[in-house]
Every structure is written in C-alpha cells, then in structure tokens.
C-alpha cells in the first residue's frame, strides 16, 4: 500500500489533467493537424488562428461581453443585498431555530432547476424580459441570494461582536461601526463569496439557454454550445472556445481554494 501510494497519486493526476491538456493542445492546432492520425501529442505548427477566428468570425466577444455584464451585475447585486441578510442572521438570528433556518436556506437548492424553468420562461415572457440581459440577471441574482446570505452569515459570525460593541460604546452608530470595523474585517470572506457566485453563474447553462437565445443577450456557455452546433467538426475552434470559457474561472477557483469546501456545501462542512 505504502509503495502503491505514489503510483496511484500520479495515475489520478494523469487521468485528471490529460483531458484538460488535450483541450488546450487541440485549440493550438491547425484544422489539418487536428485530423492527422496518429494524433500529435503537441502542436507541430503552433497557431492562434482558432482564437482569432472565434473573435473575428464567431462573435465570441459579444457573448463574453454579455456574460461579463449579466454575471457581474448579478454578483454585485446579490452581494449587496445578501450581505445585509447575512449580517442580520449572524447578529440577531441566534434566537431563531438553527434547524429551521438551515431548511429554508437549503430548500431552494433542492428544487430541481427544471421545475422552475418553465414558469420562469412564461413569466419573463409576459414581462418582455426573455432574450434580455436584465431578465437573466434578475434570475441569477435571486439564485445567488440564499447562498450569499448563508456564506456571509458564517463569515460575519467569525468577527467577535465585542469589537462592534466597543465601537458603539465609544459613540459610533451601528452603521459606522459596521462600515469602519466589520466591513474591512469581512472583506476577504466577501471576496470569496463573490468569486463563488461568479463561478456558479458564469458556468450556468440551463437557464441561460432557455432565457437568452439571441446574440444580443446570450452568455458565453450558450454561445459556445451554439458554436458546437455550427462548427460540427471544427474541433480546433471548439477547443479554443472551451479554453476561453474555462481559464478565467479555473484561476478564480484556485484563488478561493481555502473556502471551496465551505462554499460547495453551503457551510455544512468547513
């Protein structure tokens, strides 16, 4: 067993990373080279043409812009509103039954997305918000909120209440003590929560597919999926789109690794 351990770890690394490498590898090959047999293990004629084509001929920039606007404002809005709720739960929510709260915060997580998407589409259609960035932005904000409130609550709870009370005894208002004392202390947690919401919404596909299907509003995952349909065997471009969609998020995720477990389980495991 002890001797097997390094071998098993290396095996796990290969199985995990080889497919990712293959994506990057394919994205840097010419269309001709993609089809050579046996496949080349690294690009023989390294080219960025696939990436250039994506942005010049396939409007990937537009999808990227939509994603940035929708996800950016949804994350900002849910953080602004959800942090208040998190603060409220951390400071005044002690008398509420923990069990009950757990249920109400986690329950939305258990609703299958497909049970919400049909009515959501019909409602947004009535409001004229289908194929509008605003529509998807509101949906994402709502989805993020319980998560943000719950995460922020756990971060607020880690800040001793005495600090705040001391400031208030010295004559600061609750608002001032919140702004000057609590907020700076909680900002790393807030950043982690923001990145989490960002990962979830930026990667989201199902709602985006149904609520935004035109280039004016469609997000990067929807644009990428449409691209797969159009390019069929242009594997190089497909791979390049995959790299563009994945890279920023992988970097962000590695930044918040320390909080990853807490985020994934909504605080159930720390």
């Amino acid at each position: 067993m002890a001797r097997l351990r390094p071998a098993l770890i290396v095996l796990a690394l290969i199985v995990t990373l080889l497919p990712v490498y293959w994506l990057v590898n394919t994205s840097l090959k010419t269309q001709v080279e993609v089809f050579t047999s046996p496949p080349t293990l690294w690009p023989q004629n390294l080219t960025l043409q696939n990436y250039v084509d994506l942005f010049t001929r396939r409007r990937l920039g537009q999808y990227l812009l939509n994603s940035v606007i929708i996800v950016g404002s949804a994350v900002f809005l849910s953080l602004a509103i959800g942090s208040l709720a998190g603060y409220s739960l951390a400071r005044f929510g002690k008398n509420l039954g923990q069990q009950k709260l757990n249920f109400w915060v986690l329950a939305p997580r258990m609703i299958p997305p497909v049970a919400l998407v049909v009515p959501m589409f019909l409602i947004l259609q009535k409001l004229g918000l289908v194929n509008k960035r605003l529509g998807l932005m509101l949906v994402y904000t709502a989805f993020n909120l319980p998560f943000v409130a719950w995460m922020m609550r756990s971060f607020f709870e880690e800040i001793p209440i005495d600090l705040e009370e001391a400031a208030m005894v010295d004559g600061a208002s609750r608002l001032r003590s919140f702004r000057d004392i609590v907020l700076p202390l909680v900002s790393p947690g807030m950043a982690a929560t923001a990145i989490f919401s960002l990962i979830v919404t930026y990667n989201e596909f199902f709602f985006a597919l149904i609520l935004t299907s035109t280039p004016a509003a469609a997000t990067l995952p929807v644009g990428t999926a449409a691209l797969i349909g159009k390019t069929q065997t242009l594997y190089g471009e497909m791979a390049a789109a995959g790299v563009v969609a994945a890279v920023p998020l992988v970097i962000f995720a590695l930044l918040v690794q320390r909080h990853l477990v807490r985020g994934l389980t909504m605080g159930a495991v720390k």
Partner: protein
C-alpha cells in the same frame, strides 16, 4: 425592539427576492401542469389529465429510469473514488498543495466545456480515446453513437468532472475529525482496516450525507453535458429527465405537459431528499 426591526429590515429584501423567484414559479408551475398549454393558444384547464397521461407515458418512464441509473452509478462511483483519493492524500506528500489544486480543476470547468473536452476524446473521427481503442483492438470505435455505450460514456464524464467534489469534501471531513479516538485505537492495536470501518466511516457520516445528497440531487437533474454530447441519443438511450422536459416544453411547445413532468420530478426529488435526510437523521 429596535434590533428586531433591523433584523427583519435587513433580511426582507433577500427573503422577498428569493421567494419571488422560487415559490412564485412553483405555484405557476403547478397551475400550468393542470392546463392544456401550447404556444399560440390560450391555456385551458384540464384537471389532472396531464398527470394521467404521464402515468401511461412509457418514454417518460424510461427517461426516469435512465436518469436513475445515471444518478446511482455516477454518485456511487464518485463517492468511492473520492473517498479513496481523500485517504490517499490525507497525509503529507511532496507537493501536496499543488496536487490538490490540480485534482479539483475538472470541477470548476464549466459543464459545457467539459462536454467539449469529452467530444475531443470520444468523437469517432479525431477522438483520442477512439484512436487508442482502435489502435488496441483494430475495430473502429464510436462510443456516443452506440446505444449500449452512450450512457456509460456520459456517466464516465460525470465521474471525471465530479469525483473532485467528493474528494474535496471528504478530505475536509477526514481532516476535521478529532485525533484522540484514532490514537487510542492504534495503542489498542487495531488494524488500519478496523480503524477505517469502525472509526473513520461512522465519524464521517454527516459529511458523507451532505456530499452524497448534494451530488445525487445534481446528477438527477443533469443536462449540460448530455445536451452537448448526445442530445439524448442515440435514439433515447441517454434522454435524461431534464432533457426530456426541455424538449417537451421548448421544442414541442407543450408547456402544460412539460410542467407536469417537472412537478413529477420535483416530487421524486423531494421524496429522495427526505429519505436521505431521514436515513442520516441527526447528522444532517
């Protein structure tokens, strides 16, 4: 008293927003499920007719079966592999941090991109895996258009993507266990296997429950990778429930029937969650 007011004032926007986006659609969904609701025609109330039709809709049943197989195998194998990895990496090892970071990459890649990655491996013309199998066996290999292999192939994709999730959570769980019982057991001369079965596993129960529940719920409503890789085919071999509802509502514009299916899935998921929560009572 002022605190109480502040408590609710700060909480209200989140609560209202979240309710508006969950309870409201659910109620709307329930109503739509009782209607004959097609695009371009005014919805008409038909009572439980949609649900009666569901009871006799064999393609819906087989889609639920496919989803169940997918969920059980994906979640089960991910749990075993994740637990194995967590045990493998719980003690010091050179470059442990880098290894850990590398192992969680699949989980944070967008499912759509995961679909692309596996297209590059599975496709019959350029796929790396197809090439490898052909080189080894001499037979051409086209997994995604094979009725028997398409579903296992999709499950494999799920395992690749989500084993890191199980690994990460179980590792955190194992590392947060108190050390004393383990030391005592070692002093008493218990074998590693004994310690694992009688100490580690029981103490890990709450963490296992959370991890399995979250993963199973997500697997049961899988959509993205299936959409990119097979669109439910060949035939209906990989038509999971969410995909079928998507097609019914948005390709065939049968909103009422689609809503009824969604309600059925919701009820199943709720029963499942309740069962798991009860099975792990006191630990969730």
């Amino acid at each position: 008293m002022r605190n109480r007011l502040l408590y609710w004032a700060l909480l209200a926007p989140t609560a209202l927003f979240a309710l508006a986006m969950t309870v409201l659609p659910l109620v709307y969904s329930l109503r739509a499920s009782l209607q004959e609701f097609r695009l371009g025609r005014p919805p008409a109330f038909v009572g439980l007719q949609n649900f009666q039709a569901l009871l006799h809709d064999s393609s819906f049943h087989s889609s639920l079966g496919t989803t169940l197989i997918y969920t059980i195998f994906a979640t089960g194998i991910e749990f075993l592999l994740g637990l194995g990895l967590a045990l493998l990496l719980k003690e010091e090892f050179p470059f442990l941090k880098v290894i850990r970071s590398s192992l969680i990459i699949p989980m944070v890649i967008a499912p759509i991109v995961v679909g692309i990655i596996w297209r590059l491996l599975y496709s019959a013309d350029v796929g790396l895996l197809s090439f490898a199998v052909q080189a080894l066996t001499g037979k051409s290999f086209s997994v995604l258009s094979d009725t028997a292999l398409a579903l296992p192939a999709l499950i494999l994709v799920d395992i690749w993507e989500w084993t890191p999730f199980m690994f990460l959570i179980l590792l955190a769980g194992i590392q947060s266990l108190p050390q004393e019982p383990f030391e005592a057991a070692r002093v008493d001369g218990a074998s590693p296997w004994n310690i694992f079965v009688n100490l580690t596993l029981p103490m890990l129960r709450p963490v296992i429950a959370v991890a399995v529940l979250i993963r199973a719920l997500d697997a049961f409503t899988v959509f993205d990778q299936v959409f990119v890789l097979t669109q439910g085919g060949p035939g209906t071999a990989t038509e999971v429930a969410t995909l079928m509802i998507y097609k019914t509502a948005f390709r065939f514009s049968q909103f009422g029937y689609g809503a009824a299916m969604a309600v059925a899935v919701l009820v199943l998921v709720a029963c499942f969650s309740a069962a798991v929560t009860r099975a792990f009572k006191g630990s969730v």
